[in-house]
């Protein structure tokens, strides 16, 4: 008899999500390797495959499918763990959500493989993909909503059964993440349902491009926080337990998440800083709101290092920085996310540059941006997801993370990080030279400037190849933990509060208040611009297929 860390049926469902996540990750990694080699001028693609097709596949599979499936699967497991198992309703909602997401993904991938949707993962109109691509994307989102309903219900049930108590931190943080996701996806859902689907079927002749972009970026920025917040959950709740510490402060953790929900929603225009049709003043308001997200990041940084220091001192560390050496560096469950956290420091600084009104002009749409999100999402977030997988998969299958796999995991983390340093470093540097992103191999008719960029492309390709090795190693370890690791029990790490911890202010759990504040902020930031676009629309665009 195997014992799993959460009820067996919940464990199987959570795993079903994570299996799809890693499957998408594997295919996305192959697409990523090919791109790196093509841009380095090292290989040429066969006739039946084009660069932008695999670029679309890479972006969709990595940024949308891998992350979404992993995050929902992880949060389901943690909610089951901390609220005492899922109800039948939550369980069913979880599976229906999975099925919708799966079919949506299958439709999206099929249209990309048919070369009917080489529109990249941002699918900017008036590039017109097959309508089934947009329908697939909509199904993927609707599936997450259904799964989220199940999780909301589990949270509500716990609160009803435990009147007067603060909810478990893991569950609270997951709910905050889902609240952000639900609010944000309303934008892209509106874009896809009301604009792109009718237009791609030919039912309406033209699309308002600026409105579609505003709705997309209303979603596109909180999306990055949807990736980041589950990593923060692991940092706040799971890692303290892994390193033998306690939660630093329950109230600060909750405050950080509320602030993330509030500040990250109404800031999409900073992705549109170089865009016509939006006045300078509106752009500036969004820049201020964007930079406000720095505050919860500062809170998180402080909390994390406070936990590390306290845990290290408990183990007898001396001096100002002695605790640093006392941390369990040889435990991959700590090591992988910790490297991710350290990489988040330069990544965050890059983010501030991107969001700043004038500095953005230097890097906008250059490969710097790609370097930036490979440092934030593909390093900080993904290394944390890897770190979670090392304990979550065996905990869900009733197996053990063995010593040699732990060691292999450390090697895997190192390969991934070095690959990323090479690739992202080259990308950041090239971006400053003005090298564009999302571009096939080119020397711009042998222009002197573009020829000078080639050595950096090669460095980028080497980094990409290392990442591919690290990615495949991760897939191998994942399959081993899923099917072959020895039976046993792996801990599901949920940290406890410090004994003398202060009572958390109850207002942090009054969702009605926070949802109202969020709605007001959204109205302030988007109300007038969208009203203006609807009242006074710019000339529309017919559908176009340029690939």
């Amino acid at each position: 008899m195997t014992t799993t860390a959460i009820p067996k049926r919940d464990a199987s469902m959570s795993l079903a999500y994570i299996v799809i996540a890693f499957f998408a990750f594997g295919i996305g990694a192959i697409a990523g390797l090919l791109q790196g080699l093509v841009r380095g001028g090292m290989i040429e693609l066969p006739d039946w495959m084009n660069y932008y097709q695999i670029l679309t596949a890479h972006g969709v599979l990595m940024a949308l499918v891998f992350t979404t499936f992993f995050i929902i699967g992880f949060m389901i497991s943690g909610i089951s763990k901390t609220t005492g198992g899922l109800s039948t309703f939550s369980f069913r909602a979880g599976w229906i959500g999975w099925a919708l997401m799966f079919f949506g993904t299958a439709m999206v991938v099929a249209t990309i493989l048919l070369n009917d949707a080489s529109v990249l993962y941002t699918f900017y109109a008036p590039l017109k993909a097959s309508p089934w691509f947009y329908i697939g994307a909509a199904l993927l989102i609707v599936g997450t909503w259904v799964a989220a309903l199940g999780m909301f219900s589990a949270y509500r049930r716990w609160r009803k059964n435990n009147p007067g108590k603060m909810s478990p931190l893991f569950a609270f943080m997951s709910i905050a993440t889902l609240v952000l996701w639900m609010i944000a996806t309303l934008g892209v859902a509106a874009e896809v349902l009301f604009q792109l689907i009718p237009w791609s079927f030919g039912w309406v002749a033209e699309v308002n491009v600026l409105l579609s972009r505003m709705l997309f970026w209303y979603f596109g920025h909180p999306l990055v926080y949807f990736w980041l917040m589950p990593a923060y959950i692991a940092w706040y709740v799971c890692i303290p337990k892994i390193i033998g510490g306690k939660l630093f402060s329950d109230s600060l953790a909750r405050l950080a998440f509320i602030l993330l929900v509030l500040f990250s929603i109404p800031v999409g225009f900073h992705h549109q800083l170089m865009e016509p049709g939006i006045s300078e003043k509106w752009k500036f308001i969004h820049v201020i709101l964007t930079l406000a997200v720095v505050v919860p990041s500062l809170l998180t940084a402080f909390s994390m290092f406070a936990v590390f220091e306290t845990a290290g001192r408990r183990r007898g560390a001396k001096g100002l920085f002695g605790w640093f050496t006392k941390l369990p560096w040889k435990d991959v469950r700590f090591f992988a996310p910790m490297v991710g956290m350290l990489m988040f420091i330069p990544a965050g600084i890059g983010g501030i540059i991107n969001a700043s009104n004038q500095m953005n002009a230097v890097v906008h749409n250059t490969i710097w941006v790609v370097g930036h999100f490979h440092l934030t999402v593909a390093t900080s977030v993904v290394l944390t997801f890897f770190g979670i997988s090392y304990w979550l998969v065996p905990a869900l299958t009733g197996r053990k993370l063995t010593k040699w796999v732990n060691r292999l995991g450390i090697i895997q983390t190192l390969i991934w990080s070095v690959g990323m340093l090479f690739m992202s470093g080259a990308m950041h540097f090239m971006g400053l030279l003005g090298v564009p992103r999302r571009t096939d191999y080119t020397t711009y008719m042998d222009s002197e400037m573009a020829l000078g960029w080639i050595p950096y492309y090669q460095q980028m390709a080497i980094g990409g190849a290392l990442l591919f090795v690290g990615g495949m190693l991760m897939i191998g370890i994942f399959i081993y933990l899923l099917c072959f690791a020895p039976k046993g029990q792996e801990e599901y790490p949920i940290a406890e509060m410090e004994q003398n911890a202060e009572q958390t202010p109850r207002i942090l759990e009054r969702w009605r208040i926070w949802l109202t504040v969020a709605a007001v902020l959204i109205l302030l930031a988007y109300g007038y611009p969208i009203f203006d676009i609807l009242q006074n629309p710019a000339p529309g665009s017919p559908p176009l297929r340029t690939w």
């Binding site: 670029l55 600026l210 865009e275 049709g277 930079l291 505050v295 004038q358 906008h364 711009y444 000339p539």
Partner: protein
């Protein structure tokens, strides 16, 4: 809510830095006029070739050392494909798209804008160094995106 003393210091330090940073950005933007390209003019994408000033692409002298370069974008190029610019000139690039979204970037300068169909966009720069520059498309626009360019010769 209780805050640790060091945490208070950390947050106050962070908050004050942030506010100072935003003030610098604001001064830069609203007092020195360093705004990102935010043109509010519009044009019908299918009518670009018939709409002034895009019906006659090219350089227009606007004053001493001041020029407009009207340069519509399309899949996969710009008109004109090559342009000579006098050294030391302040050039305002004006563009729009005849079809999908494009980018309009000149590496080595501060010109970097989105070209959105239905909208006109403008950016200004001064060329103080002679030589060859490229206008390149840095937003994906289709199968020939990586070939989309124009040449500027400053002399």
């Amino acid at each position: 809510m209780h805050l640790h003393k060091f945490e208070k210091i950390w947050l106050i330090f962070g908050g004050v830095t942030l506010v100072a940073f935003i003030i610098v950005l604001a001064i830069n933007a609203f007092s020195h006029g360093h705004h990102p390209p935010s043109d509010l003019n519009r044009v019908v994408p299918a009518m670009v070739d018939q709409t002034a000033p895009f019906d006659q692409p090219g350089l227009v002298k606007k004053g001493e050392n001041k020029y407009d370069l009207n340069m519509p974008s399309f899949a996969f190029g710009y008109a004109p494909a090559e342009q000579v610019i006098p050294l030391g000139a302040e050039v305002t690039f004006r563009t729009t798209s005849k079809d999908v979204i494009h980018g309009f970037a000149i590496p080595g300068t501060n010109v970097n804008m989105m070209v959105v169909p239905g909208h006109v966009n403008t950016a200004t720069t001064t060329f103080t160094k002679a030589g060859e520059y490229m206008v390149i498309c840095n937003e994906y626009c289709g199968a020939g995106h990586h070939m989309m360019m124009a040449k500027l010769v400053v002399k």
